[in-house]
Symmetry: C3
Subunit: 173 residues, 3 copies
Amino acid sequence: MMKFEYKQLHVKSNGRRVTFTNITDEVKSFVKSTGIQNGICLVSSPHTTCSVIFDEFTHDKDWNDDELLQVDMVKILDKIVPREMTESDYLYPGPKHVAFLKQLNEADPSYDADPATILNADAHIRASIFGSSETVVIKDGELLIGTVGYLYFVDWDQNRVRTRNCNVALIGE
Amino acid sequence: MMKFEYKQLHVKSNGRRVTFTNITDEVKSFVKSTGIQNGICLVSSPHTTCSVIFDEFTHDKDWNDDELLQVDMVKILDKIVPREMTESDYLYPGPKHVAFLKQLNEADPSYDADPATILNADAHIRASIFGSSETVVIKDGELLIGTVGYLYFVDWDQNRVRTRNCNVALIGE
Amino acid sequence: MMKFEYKQLHVKSNGRRVTFTNITDEVKSFVKSTGIQNGICLVSSPHTTCSVIFDEFTHDKDWNDDELLQVDMVKILDKIVPREMTESDYLYPGPKHVAFLKQLNEADPSYDADPATILNADAHIRASIFGSSETVVIKDGELLIGTVGYLYFVDWDQNRVRTRNCNVALIGE
């Protein structure tokens, strides 16, 4: 009998660099807990500056405790989608949008309207390139992600320490 | 009881620039109309030069009435996947493929075989990078896309005014 | 009645260039064989250096028998995510990770631990950019991929001749 199962994960962003969080164990535990044997697992970010990616875990880390493959990836991105450091780098956000974000902030303080933190056009563009979700097959109770494959939640926004949500939805039997 | 629901949306491409169409309201209305409370929503382009992306709506627009974040994104893409303006830019399409497209055009006039409009290698490569679809969680009757998240249908092809199809499929209960 | 169907495809990588394999016919045949009329089709790579993409088939090929659009795409990628030819190009893999891969190789010879073949940071980054899967709508027994749309399994790793797995999962009725 086909069923739907859902869980929300919470991940911390460091606010100084791109944050990669290995969520593989949490997703695997959730799949096990539902008893679903065959189906699909959708891992999805509701935030427009985050992505879910599938990649290898690398054992070596740099000075900042980031995995080497992630450091390599960010270095490439810094060339092709450079960081927005001031208003001459990108057109985003624009005056009306800043006013809108300030309004949002009044209603919900988790939407920070500090002008310096809003300069994240790079994070939006990177998130669209990498996509907001990954979908993986569940077969015989296991995620089909290979021996060296892992799921990472990525916060491309480097401007704010915050907690991000990650939605995991299963459809299967 | 798990069910399948389907709707095809139709969007207009301007034929002069990359066209971003905000389809969020249409997708939300469709989800509501089906009564599905929990499941997944797949939004998919059947066209090889289009993508579905998830990003913020920006209130400010440029001279062409394009949202600022989209203008920023296209400016980045013009550097990394430059437009095909003549045959020295890319190998695509090639003589056999042009002959094939001319044949298609005889059977179905919506496949324009004007050589100038076929020069769209950039649109194909951009579409593959961004991906042809996005999948979003439906929970308690709502799409989980956050407060500032929107779904856009993107036509990367800048050569033709035309109507594009966008497939929306739901599986849920 | 909603059901789950699964098949694993096997594709060969040439080990000298990026390998694009047109898997459209195999996926279509599998969909037909299940009798599913309406649902979704997830095509997913369990390998962290592979992607599934949706693009046009081009009739013309280059000297290496690669389709022109794929040659164009790889030429762009060689500029933005250059190949790792030696250890000054990327930080990946790092000494602990090489030791881990050598251990894997002792348990399973398909994990080649030859240092020269491990230099594939470019393949990992490209795979994350393009994504590990594509999901397509099934309607009235047909994949909604348009007249000129095809599914390709891409092995971005150019260092090893090997057989790769591709998972196809359907949920539908």
